[in-house]
């Protein structure tokens, strides 16, 4: 069956968000691109399995999630050296503060890569792709409480990095 042009366009429009999701899962640009490509291949081949009227984005996120899980299983233990990324290109006149922020963002990125896949999925869908907790729960097919607790745990893991920022250091409570 040939694909509806409108659906093709919808799928293409999802590309940036799927790439963010893939980036969160794989931790590297080239791996993310491979995963997105594979996700589209799978989606195009299985278009008859998508239920019209249901959310296309959720369906494609799930395909990406499954492909990624299978690829980890095939890798026999995931041990990737996370490259040191230079976050030292200040873009504004206030270079010092900008560079500080970039450095902290670099630390956050590294820490995100050490989270579990489940935590990363939730974090990207909510914090980067702007899904609500409920939408995320429906997409990942888990209870909303699970989404909340995964997100809270992911945030806790990232929390120590915040102490590097003088104005956001830990408070006594």
């Amino acid at each position: 069956m040939t694909l509806d042009t409108a659906i093709e366009e919808q799928m293409i429009n999802l590309l940036p968000k799927l790439r963010s999701f893939a980036l969160g899962l794989t931790g590297s640009g080239p791996d993310a691109d491979d995963l997105v490509q594979a996700t589209f291949e799978r989606a195009i081949k299985n278009m008859d399995k998508w239920i019209p009227g249901s959310r296309l984005d959720s369906w494609m996120y799930r395909i990406a999630q499954n492909l990624h899980r299978n690829s980890i299983r095939n890798e026999s233990g995931r041990s990737r050296i996370i490259e040191e990324i230079s976050f030292n290109q200040p873009k504004t006149i206030d270079g010092v503060q900008e560079a500080e922020t970039a450095r902290t963002a670099g630390q956050v990125w590294k820490r995100i890569q050490s989270l579990s896949a489940e935590q990363r999925e939730v974090l990207v869908l909510i914090c980067i792709n702007g899904l609500s907790y409920r939408e995320t729960a429906e997409t990942l097919r888990v209870p909303i409480g699970t989404v909340t607790s995964r997100l809270a745990r992911a945030r806790e893991e990232l929390s120590p990095i915040m102490d590097m920022e003088p104005s956001f250091g830990k408070t006594q409570s």
Partner: protein, 210 residues
């Protein structure tokens, strides 16, 4: 921090609360410095998470993916549409090829055909370099949507180069989207692509036929 839970703060920072709940909670937080600080921290954390991803968003990679995926759609559609006609098309193609081959052999003989092939290759190489030069000139000199054309004096093959919008890649390089149309007596090809300027001043052009 007895009356405001961590989860409430997180939901507030993530825009999960309906307006009335949000306003009520913000009111309580206003008089609770510890909660206020925690909320600021959560919001800053969200910002840092977004920033950390932004550094890895790569327009060139996205554009490349987009072209590849459009290609996949085309292949899929062609395969789906072509499965019924495949036999007929293959038969017609083989008949046409046989006829052309026979005419060639009859008219020029085998040795002449070799020369013809050489000439054809040289002509194609010239067309490619003409096209390449025009692409570079167009990228350097035209505004978005404006076209430059080239034309081969020998074969009549000609082309249109149209750079579109200009953008800056995540790595800070200047890039332009472009379409490259090439028309010959036999065919018309339209390719879409992205060109990014590399450090030495030249352009890297990625195109995909549509």
């Amino acid at each position: 921090m007895s009356d405001i839970s961590e989860t409430d703060l997180m939901r507030l920072a993530d825009g999960e609360l309906p307006t009335h709940e949000r306003l009520a909670l913000e009111g309580i937080i206003e008089s609770n410095p510890a909660a206020k600080q925690k909320l600021a921290r959560l919001r800053r954390q969200n910002e840092l998470i977004r920033l950390s991803f932004q550094e890895h968003q790569d327009e060139l990679a996205l554009a490349r993916l987009k072209t590849n995926i459009r290609q996949q759609f085309k292949q899929h559609d062609r395969r789906a549409a072509g499965s019924n006609r495949a036999f007929g098309t293959a038969l017609a193609a083989s008949v046409a090829i046989s006829v052309i081959a026979a005419v060639f052999a009859y008219m020029f003989g085998v040795q002449h055909a070799d020369n013809k092939v050489d000439q054809l290759l040289a002509m194609q190489a010239m067309e490619r370099s003409l096209r390449q030069e025009t692409i570079e000139t167009a990228l350097e000199t035209t505004t978005g949507g404006e076209s430059l054309t080239w034309s081969s004096p020998t074969s009549g093959t000609h082309g249109i180069i149209t750079p579109l919008n200009t953008f800056r890649s995540a790595g800070g390089r200047f890039c332009r989207e472009l379409t490259v149309t090439t028309k010959s007596a036999m065919s018309e090809e339209i390719a879409q692509g992205v060109a990014c300027r590399h450090q030495s001043g030249g352009w890297t052009v990625l195109t995909s036929q549509t």
